[in-house]
């Protein structure tokens, strides 16, 4: 490397790090503020003492533990149902050339564009007729049939060689046996990819849960945090920071631990 190339290289490296630090700084600041008293956070006093008071106050003022359980329940029930419904639908689309399967697929694709977020008004009406307002099931139900998941699985299933299927049939596998022993195992990367995308989406979802819930027993973390931090509630900065950290840390830790899988999942889901 010549001297001038070495110089540009270090300059680029420096730029890359400046950008990275700039990008992570807002989050680091929220962390820092959560562990310091409000007045210290405002004056940005780096030598001020650490404290856990903010977390104590946040937990005392709002039931974040309950909110966390609710979020967990939503994600925990929704994901397996999404995978089940989508697997059956994708299998039907790929393997059974049933009458109307082309139209069926077109109807699936409609939901890629018209996501449930946009139909909040009408879906609220439907759920209140079903008596599911303010229930965990109500938060998840509109999302159970995921066009995105059906689409991803259909693409994956289509790439599975017919020979494998024939071999399984010879071995005595029935229709469901083939799905379970051939298709599902070979689509594992797709399942993982969709799962991570779905978990992060529904952990972070806000608007629909806000509309459909109105009690502590059902409210997920995002909605609890949104209500907690609304300007009119007049809570101080450091406590809001602590509440924010409380709400994001489970997903954030999962992300930091499985960073590679998360990034690859988003890539995988995006390319298809």
């Amino acid at each position: 490397m010549t001297l001038s190339r070495k110089f540009t290289y270090s300059l680029e490296l420096f730029g890359a790090y400046v950008l990275a630090i700039l990008w992570i700084l807002p989050l680091l600041y929220a962390f820092w503020a959560a562990f310091h008293s409000s007045s210290d956070a405002i004056h940005f006093d780096l030598t001020s003492p650490l404290t856990l008071d903010n977390f104590r106050k946040a937990i005392n003022q709002a039931p974040f533990f309950q909110y966390g359980i609710n979020t967990f329940l939503v994600v925990g029930f929704l994901l397996p149902l999404q995978l089940l419904v989508s697997t059956l639908a994708a299998y039907a689309l790929v393997r059974f050339n049933f009458v109307g399967s082309k139209i069926a697929f077109a109807l699936v694709l409609v939901q890629l564009m018209i996501t449930p977020e946009i139909l909040i008004v009408q879906n609220y009406g439907t759920l209140s007729k079903l008596g599911l307002v303010d229930t965990i099931a109500g938060i998840g139900l509109p999302y159970v049939a995921s066009a995105f998941c059906i689409f991803l699985l259909r693409q994956t299933f289509k790439s599975i060689p017919k020979e494998l299927e024939d071999a399984a049939e010879l071995e005595g596998c029935g229709t469901m046996g083939i799905l379970w022993r051939v298709y599902v195992p070979l689509a594992m990367p797709t399942y993982l990819a969709f799962s991570l995308v779905s978990i992060s989406h529904h952990w972070n979802n806000f608007l629909w849960p806000l509309i459909i819930t109105n009690s502590v027993e059902t409210r997920p973390l995002t909605v609890g945090l949104g209500i907690f931090a609304a300007p009119e509630s007049g809570v101080d900065w450091s406590v809001i920071s602590a509440a924010t950290i409380l709400s994001i840390f489970p997903l954030l830790i999962a992300f930091l631990l499985f960073q590679k899988q998360f990034v690859q999942s988003f890539m995988h889901a995006g390319i298809k």
Binding site: E12, A16, L19, A20, I21, W23, I24, P26, L27, Y29, I42, F44, V85, A89, A92, L93, N97, F98, V99, A104, L107, V108, V110, Q111, L112, M113, I114, T115, P116, I118, L119, V121, Q122, N123, L141, P142, A145, A147, T175, S200, W203, N204, F206, L221, T222, L225, G226, A229, W237, S241, S247, I248, L252, F255, Q259, F262, V263, M267, G270, I271
Partner: protein
């Protein structure tokens, strides 16, 4: 397998998805359209057919035009900047440089945060006088400013926050795109003595065009769907300066309880999304086939 058995099997497997999709996507889409043609039902007055009255109302509603224009400014302000930064980040992270893991993590982490948490964090930065931004500007002798309370600065403030949140997400798609470009091209360019700048503009950027169009359209759709932050930051204010279509729909339906008008607004938004999706289908799928 016989054809009839195939049909029955196929439909049975597809049925759960079909029922749910119809119940929560197709039926509400059609019902929204029908509702927009009828007046609101109240205790004293039943709903009656009003035709396209609510669409007249829509076109004469200054707030509607305001939130629509806001949405367009938001898209214009966030998308090109986010895409530029995303390409830059992807180019950085795609190379074997020291601390690559840290860099990728820093760029991507905001994407993993819920928008509501992002809003909480940035609310503090934008706070007048005591917020971080005013503190920093104060060092240079600037006076404090109510960034979110001033109609002139509220939208730019939200744009900056959104860029921070989204650039890392788009980076992922560019990373995927970059990995499909053969490394031999770079070697060839180097042998020919082509500069890095030249290599980017002549080789990488054109080859990333399908990615750019994909990101462009998805970012555009996202800019209409993402309104969570308004609940914490501004509630659409001051004087609707930061209000967006979906938030306006929410207000109309759940605060003003005007289902008829909320339905008309929703139909408008659905039409916009449909046009975008069709553009994607015809423009992107048909024209961009480099690979």
């Amino acid at each position: 397998m016989k054809n009839s058995a195939k049909n029955i099997h196929g439909w049975l497997l597809f049925a759960p998805a079909a029922i749910l999709l119809v119940a929560f996507t197709h039926y509400p889409t059609i019902a929204t359209f029908i509702n927009s043609l009828f007046s609101n039902q109240s205790v004293i007055r039943p709903s009656r057919f009003t035709g396209i009255d609510s669409y007249y109302m829509l076109f004469e509603d200054p707030v509607f035009w305001k939130v629509f224009v806001n949405n367009m400014w938001l898209a214009l302000g966030t998308i090109p900047t986010s895409i530029g930064l995303a390409i830059l980040m992807a180019l950085i992270v795609n190379k074997a440089i020291p601390g690559r893991g840290f860099l990728r993590m820093s760029y991507f982490t905001p994407t993993m945060l819920p928008m509501i948490a992002v809003a909480n964090i940035w609310l503090f930065f934008y706070a007048p006088d005591i917020g971080l931004i005013d503190k920093v500007l104060g060092i240079f002798g600037f006076d404090g400013h109510n960034w979110l309370g001033d109609p002139d600065t509220v939208l730019p403030a939200i744009i900056i926050m959104t860029v921070w949140k989204e650039a890392g997400f788009f980076m992922i798609f560019y990373l995927a795109g970059l990995q499909t470009i053969s490394p031999e091209l770079e070697e060839a360019a180097q042998l020919e003595g082509s500069s890095r700048w030249n290599y980017f503009w002549r080789i990488q950027f054109p080859l990333l065009l399908p990615t750019t169009l994909f990101v462009l359209i998805n970012a555009f759709l996202n800019s209409f769907k993402l309104v969570d932050h308004l609940f914490v930051l501004t509630k659409g204010g001051p004087d609707n300066a930061s209000n967006l279509i979906l938030y306006y729909i929410y207000e109309t339906a759940f605060s003003f309880l005007d289902i008829s008008y909320a339905s008309a607004l929703t139909v408008f938004m659905l039409a916009m999304l449909a046009v975008t999706a069709l553009a994607q289908f015809f423009f992107v799928e048909k024209r961009v086939h480099y690979r």
